[in-house]
Symmetry: C2
Subunit: 233 residues, 2 copies
DNA sequence: CCCGCGTTTCTTGTCGACAAATAAAATGCA
DNA sequence: TGCATTTTATTTGTCGACAAGAAACGCGGG
C-alpha cells in the first residue's frame, strides 16, 4: 500500500493544510479510506512531502467536522458510520432539505437559479453515464447550491455537514446495487427546481420532504434486507 | 493590558489545546474580547506559558466554529457579530428551539428531566441575583440540556453553535438595559419543562417558537431603537 | 507637500527534534 | 504453560527556530 502518487512538487505558503484537508475529506467521503482505518500522521507527512504540522491542522479540522475521531494520545482514525442512529441522520437531513428548499423558493435570485440548473445539468449527465461516484458528489453540490440560495449560513452549514456524511451512506447504498442509478432521481430534482423557480413554498416543502423520505426509506430497506440475508438458514 | 493571571503551573499532556480553547471561547462569548480584536499567537503563548503549537490548534478549532476569522498569512481576529443578518440567526434559533424541544418531549428519559431541572434551578438563582453573565451562560446550558434530551447529535451540534453566538448577542442586549433580568424568562423556561415532562409535543413546539420569537422581537426593537437614537435631530 | 519604491519589522506558516504516553514485546516467576 | 511485570517501540503532543508574506516605515523624486 505504498501508493506515493504525489503530484505537488511545490506549493504556496498558506495552502498546505487545505490541500491535505480537501484530499483527505474526499478520500473519506468516497470510502477510499474505510471507516475505522487508522491515520498515521508521519505517513501522511511522507506522502504529501510536508511536515506534520499542516497535516495535524487538517486532521483537527476534520475532527471538528466529525469525519475523523481522535482518541487522546492515541492514533486518530476515520470516523465510523453510525448505522444505529441513522434515523437521526435522516430526520436532520429531511428538515434541512425542507427548510433550505423553502427558503430558496422565497429568497432565490436569478443567478442562484442559473447556478442550480448548471449543477443539475452535470447531475443528469452523471446519472445517464451511470457514474455513481460523480453522481453522489454532484448530488451534494446540488442541495448545497439550493442551501446557498436560501441565504442562511447556519442552515447552509448544517446542510453541508449532513450532505458530506450522506456521500458515504449513498456510496454504500449504490455500491450494493452495482452502482445502478435510476432516472427518477433526476426527475425529482427537476421538480424541486420548478417549485423554487415558481416560488411555490408549499410545493417546495412537500417535494423536499418527499425527496428526503424516499431516500431514507430506500436506505432503510437496504439495511433491513442486509440484516435478513446475513442470517443464513 | 499585561494581565498575566496564569494559574496553570503544570498541565497534563493532551490538555494544552483544550485549556486555551475553553478559555478563549469563554472570553469571546462573554465579550471580554471585543469582536474584531486581533489575536496574537505569541502573546497568548506567553500568557499561557506554552508553545504556539497548542494555541494554534485552539485557534483552528475556534475558526472552524466561526468564533474567530483568520485571513491567510495575516493575523486572526475575533469574529464580528453580523447584525445585518440577525434575521437569519433567529430563524435558525427558532427552528432549533422548536425541533429540540419537540424531540425532547418525545424521547426524554427521567435522568434527562432531572438534569434539565437542575440547570433550571441554577438559572432561577442567576436571574434572582441579577447576574447577567451567569444567566446568559446558564441559559445556553439549559437549551443544550434540552437538545441532549432530544438525542439527535446533528440538532445538538447546531444548537450549541447558535447558543454560543447567542451568548454574545444576549450580552449586548442586557448590557444595554443595565443587566436587568426580568422574571418572565424563568416562567417561560418552567413552561417548556412542563410541556416536555407531559410529553405534550404540540405545546412544546408552540412554547419553543414563542420563546424564540419573543427574544428575537426584543433584540430587534433594541436594534431599531438604537438606530433611531443614533439619528440626532 | 504628496506619491512611489525599497527596506525593515513583525507575524504567521512550516520544519525538525525531543519527551511523554500508550501499546506491544519480552522477560521472569509460579 | 500461563500470568504479571518490565522493557522496548511506536506515535502523539509540545517545543524552539527559521523563512516567507504582509504591513509599517523611511527615503528620494516629482
Amino acid at each position: 500500500m505504498t501508493d506515493d502518487s504525489i503530484a505537488i512538487p511545490e506549493r504556496k505558503r498558506g495552502a498546505g493544510a487545505k490541500i491535505v484537508y480537501d484530499l483527505l475529506r474526499d478520500e473519506i467521503l468516497n470510502l477510499k479510506l474505510a471507516p475505522g482505518s487508522p491515520i498515521d500522521e508521519v505517513q501522511l507527512g511522507e506522502r504529501f512531502s510536508m511536515s506534520r504540522t499542516p497535516i495535524r491542522e487538517a486532521l483537527v479540522r476534520l475532527a471538528e467536522e466529525g469525519l475523523v475521531s481522535t482518541l487522546p494520545n492515541r492514533s486518530t482514525m476515520v470516523a465510523q458510520i453510525d448505522f444505529l442512529n441513522l434515523r437521526n441522520y435522516f430526520d436532520a437531513l429531511s428538515l434541512m432539505y425542507r427548510v433550505t428548499t423553502r427558503l430558496a423558493a422565497q429568497h432565490h435570485r436569478p443567478a442562484d437559479l442559473r447556478g442550480i440548473r448548471a449543477v443539475q445539468a452535470d447531475y443528469a449527465t452523471a446519472v445517464q453515464s451511470q457514474d455513481a461516484l460523480a453522481m453522489i458528489a454532484i448530488n451534494a453540490a446540488f442541495h448545497i447550491a439550493i442551501a446557498e440560495a436560501a441565504r442562511n449560513p447556519y442552515f447552509t452549514g448544517l446542510s453541508k455537514r449532513l450532505l458530506g456524511e450522506g456521500r458515504r451512506i449513498l456510496r454504500l447504498y449504490y455500491e450494493s446495487y452495482d452502482d445502478q442509478l435510476p432516472m427518477h432521481l433526476v426527475v425529482e430534482h427537476e421538480e424541486l427546481i420548478q417549485a423554487i423557480a415558481d416560488r411555490d413554498i408549499e410545493a417546495a416543502d412537500r417535494l423536499a420532504k418527499a425527496h428526503a423520505e424516499q431516500i431514507a426509506q430506500q436506505v432503510q430497506t437496504l439495511l433491513t434486507r442486509a440484516g435478513d440475508t446475513s442470517i443464513v438458514l
